[in-house]
């Protein structure tokens, strides 16, 4: 393991922001630390960077304890949510900063700055002032700056959160390609599941300072450890079912779940798990909202004899459905998770 975090706690007075967290990141791997705001994920990232004193446990790199290594000798690159570019230096000066700190020769500096600007798609921006950059450009420069001294670990603190939606999506894809292509060992902190799954090989879900679940992206997405994690990962409806031969049967009909063990299972349904179809379980539309790629419905299903009798469902954007309309729903395996 390149980075291993063992039983790390961070305490502010009597408040324990991070509680005995264990994490490992392998060489070249991208790990996303996913959690709601206030879950302690940024604090953990800052503790790993050496910016926050650790009150218990240890942070190790290739087995060496980093407790005595100050921030500037850890060789961990850090990108803040809002860039934090140096206002008194231009783009070149920002990117070359780490190179100067590491006494890289001048001509080598110029070469590296050019190469990094190419890498983040800002060729020719070297002479720009920081104030002339858009939010997305500033974030790219911040990334190039962090990558310049060839850090052994890259720490990204909500790197895309300050950008608007379309830009965020584009930049997430670019960033994922860049990290994979260059095999950069990365820890990215985010509250956005989509961002986490785009960028990371593995995710760790943090809640109230504790890791609730860690694992490969598909396994966490398909099998959240408990209801809280499931809810954070977009599950809106929980449903008990009986699985047999890879098919789970419930009040809402059958659905393929190849990974489920036979017996009682708990299904977690994301809104896309229920689609309007010509036949299936009968229900009545309660309300609807237009989304970009589908129509989001709340449907009352009499067949559900639990405490909640409404579920989230989706229909094609073209479907002309209004409150009171009768619909039929079928389960879509893509939106279904096995909880626990």
């Amino acid at each position: 393991m390149a980075l291993s975090v063992e039983g790390v706690s961070v305490r502010y007075g009597s408040f324990e922001a991070v509680r005995e967290v264990d994490l490992d990141i392998a060489d070249g791997e991208v790990l996303a630390l996913l959690g709601p705001s206030g879950s302690g994920k940024s604090t953990l990232l800052r503790a790993i960077a050496g910016l926050e004193p650790v009150t218990g446990g240890s942070v190790r790199w290739d087995g060496d304890d980093l407790a005595r290594v100050p921030v500037h000798r850890r060789e961990f690159g850090l990108v803040f949510q809002d860039g934090q570019l140096f206002p008194h230096r231009d783009v070149r000066g920002n990117i070359a900063f780490g190179l100067r700190m590491h006494r890289v020769p001048k001509d080598e500096q110029a070469r590296r700055v050019g190469a990094l600007l190419d890498l983040v798609g800002l060729t020719g921006y070297a002479g720009r002032r920081i104030t002339e950059l858009s939010g997305g450009e500033a974030q790219r420069v911040a990334l190039a700056r962090a990558l310049a001294p060839k850090p052994r670990l890259l720490l990204l603190d909500e790197p895309l959160s300050s950008l608007d939606a379309s830009l965020r999506e584009q930049l997430a894809v670019d960033l994922a390609e860049l990290l994979r292509g260059a095999k950069i060992t990365t820890l990215v902190v985010t509250h956005d599941q989509e961002e986490a799954f785009t960028l990371a090989d593995r995710v760790a879900v943090l809640e109230r300072g504790e890791v609730r679940q860690a694992g490969a992206v598909p396994s966490v997405w398909r099998g959240p450890a408990d209801d809280t994690v499931a809810a954070f990962l977009g599950v809106t409806t929980f449903l008990d079912a009986q699985a047999a031969d890879g098919v789970a049967r419930s009040a809402l009909g059958p659905v393929d779940v190849p990974e489920a063990r036979d017996g009682a299972v708990r299904l977690g349904l994301r809104p896309t798990a229920l689609r309007v179809a010509p036949d299936g379980v009968a229900g009545e539309v309660v309300s609807r909202v237009h989304r970009r790629e589908h129509l989001r419905l709340v449907v009352r299903v009499p067949a559900l004899q639990s405490t909640v009798d409404t579920v989230d469902a989706v229909a094609p954007v073209s479907a002309d459905l209004r409150a009171g309309d009768p619909v039929h729903l079928v389960l879509d395996p893509d939106g279904v998770a096995i909880v626990g």
Binding site: F97, H102, A148
Partner: protein, 540 residues
């Protein structure tokens, strides 16, 4: 834990080393002399007598009353000017920024003289007007500093909710500005309560404040215990004002989300023009005494003449001065240079110390920082005469007799400028985003390198501006200098004061000409500072 402890200890050692110079300077050159004078007063047994006497309380009441009236006037006059500087985008606003600062850095003697040119007999009205005139700039620039960066969208929101323009100002903008107004008012009150030159020249024997009375008792009556008692009363008032100011400052520095100026300034519209007119009116009024003084410097009973300026190369009529006017001017420049260098070293070190204390994790360190922040302001509020006299009774205990050293006057002046330097440098230093420094750390910059690469470049303009500002204040310093400067080596303000206290047409002409000279240097330095484009974040 053990490691964290060790890191903290090492940090603590660094801070302690940093603290040695400013604290040592303050202890030796401020606390000790003041304590010595106060102690002398107590041992003389006159303190109780003085405190019981009605005269003391009459003086205190007059001091507080004139300071309060002056502060009120300065705030009222300063607010429209602040609006003009902060929110108005019109040609010439930059010029107003410079002009408005001129009165504040004028030597008190010059201000006193300028008002005497308009009110030859002196009195309460010119005292209050002169004190306010002196401090309009403090209010205007402190408040404008905050107003410029205040998010105007809150006001827009209030307007959208149905508030009229004036209602939105009263209910949204004014409360947001309150910390800056409070902080400025506290500083102005301090300046007015301890104002020396102005009261001495305009008050004559009739109107005396604690400050001039301390001078009188110390120098003329040799009544040390009386002076000590008055110093105590003054100190108490000053500490109260400082505490109020510190509270206001703390709110101001933490509570607000600030914007860049470009986003908030625009062309005035509708009734805002009235405010703009009021602001311009105030600026014009503050320039009147200056113009009057300039006119006086070239007019004689026989018509226009440059006699006063020619006389600068002489010693005044019947040898009033021991040196020529030019010699005094050169002495002034030299002394102010030494004082500024001293004050910059101490003031910048103290600012670094204060900001480091605030950044440290320990509550104790932060508490110590706040106490020190307030303590470093004390020299602003203690009678310069007390300090000056304290020097004479304490400094002979030090090796190498400082009392006859040419460094004595610069040291006293430095003491006056250090608080100003700190107030200009500290807010800028504090506004450096901690995450910028952390970003530099993660890129491989050691703590010392972070200072060099981040804090220094971001603060350097404020530091240079503070140096320029300190320089002009030192140039005009009168209270302590008049007490400590030897007759054979007066500074220009001291020379001016001796010139006007002696009769003679030539002396008056020469005094006015010397004032004009002093003003010229001041204006040049202030214009240069404003060229730097700072002053938006600092407090004056």
């Amino acid at each position: 834990m053990a490691l964290a402890h060790r890191v903290l200890t090492r940090r603590g050692t660094g801070l302690a080393l940093l603290a040695v110079l400013p604290i040592g300077f303050l202890a030796v050159l401020f606390a000790w002399p003041v304590a010595a004078i106060v102690g002398r007063g107590f041992s003389g047994g006159g303190v109780a007598t003085a405190l019981a006497g009605g005269e003391t309380w009459r003086l205190a009441a007059f001091t507080v009353a004139q300071a309060a009236a002056s502060t009120l006037l300065a705030v009222l006059a300063g607010l429209p000017v602040a609006f003009l500087l902060a929110r108005v985008r019109l040609p010439g606003v930059a010029l107003v920024r410079t002009l408005v600062l001129i009165p504040f850095v004028l030597p008190t003697v010059v201000v006193g003289l300028a008002f005497r040119a308009l009110w030859p007999d002196g009195g309460v009205v010119p005292i209050v007007l002169a004190n306010a005139f002196f401090n309009v700039a403090v209010v205007a620039r402190t408040v404008a500093g905050l107003w410029t960066h205040l998010d105007s969208r809150a006001e827009a929101a209030a307007r959208a909710l149905g508030a009229s323009r004036s209602r939105a100002f009263r209910e949204v903008t004014l409360p947001a500005l309150a910390p800056a107004i409070g902080s400025a008012a506290a500083v102005v009150f301090l300046f007015c309560a301890t104002s020396f030159g102005v009261v001495l020249i305009l008050g004559g024997a009739r109107f005396r404040t604690l400050e001039t009375e301390i001078y009188l008792r110390t120098v003329d009556l040799l009544d040390l215990s009386g002076a000590a008692a008055l110093s105590l009363v003054q100190l108490a008032a000053v500490v109260a004002a400082l505490v109020a100011g510190a509270v206001a400052r703390r709110r101001r520095e933490t509570a607000l989300r600030l914007r860049a100026r470009a986003e908030t300034a625009r062309r005035p519209e509708g009734r805002e023009w009235w405010v703009v007119a009021a602001g311009l009116g105030v600026v014009a009024l503050t320039l009147t005494p200056i113009v009057a003084l300039l006119v006086k410097s070239v007019s004689t009973p026989d018509g226009w003449s440059l006699d006063g300026y020619r006389a600068l190369s002489g010693h005044g009529s019947s040898g009033t001065l021991a040196v020529s006017g030019w010699d005094a001017a050169i002495r002034s420049l030299r002394t102010a240079t030494d004082a500024t260098l001293l004050a910059m070293v101490i003031g910048v070190l103290a600012s670094v110390l204060l900001v480091s204390l605030r950044r440290s994790p320990g509550r104790l360190a932060r508490g110590a920082g706040e106490v020190m922040d307030a303590a470093l302001m004390l020299p602003l509020g203690v009678s310069a005469v007390t300090v000056g006299f304290g020097y004479l009774v304490t400094l002979d205990a030090l090796p190498g007799d400082l009392r006859t050293s040419p460094l004595l006057v610069p040291l006293a002046q430095a003491l006056v400028i250090i608080p100003l330097v700190i107030r200009m440098v500290l807010p800028v230093l504090r506004s450096v985003d901690e995450r910028l420094r952390q970003a530099a750390s993660t890129l491989g910059a050691s703590p010392a390198r972070v200072w060099r690469e981040i804090d220094v470049p971001l603060t350097v303009r404020a530091v240079v501006a503070a140096a320029g500002f300190g320089y002009v204040v030192a140039l005009g310093e009168f209270g302590a200098t008049s007490f400590l400067a030897r007759p054979t080596s007066p500074t220009l303000p001291v020379a001016i004061s001796s010139l006007i206290s002696r009769p003679g047409e030539l002396n008056n002409q020469l005094a006015y000409a010397a004032c004009a000279l002093l003003m010229l240097v001041t204006v040049a330095v202030v214009a240069a500072i404003d060229r730097l484009g700072t002053g938006t974040v600092g407090e004056f």
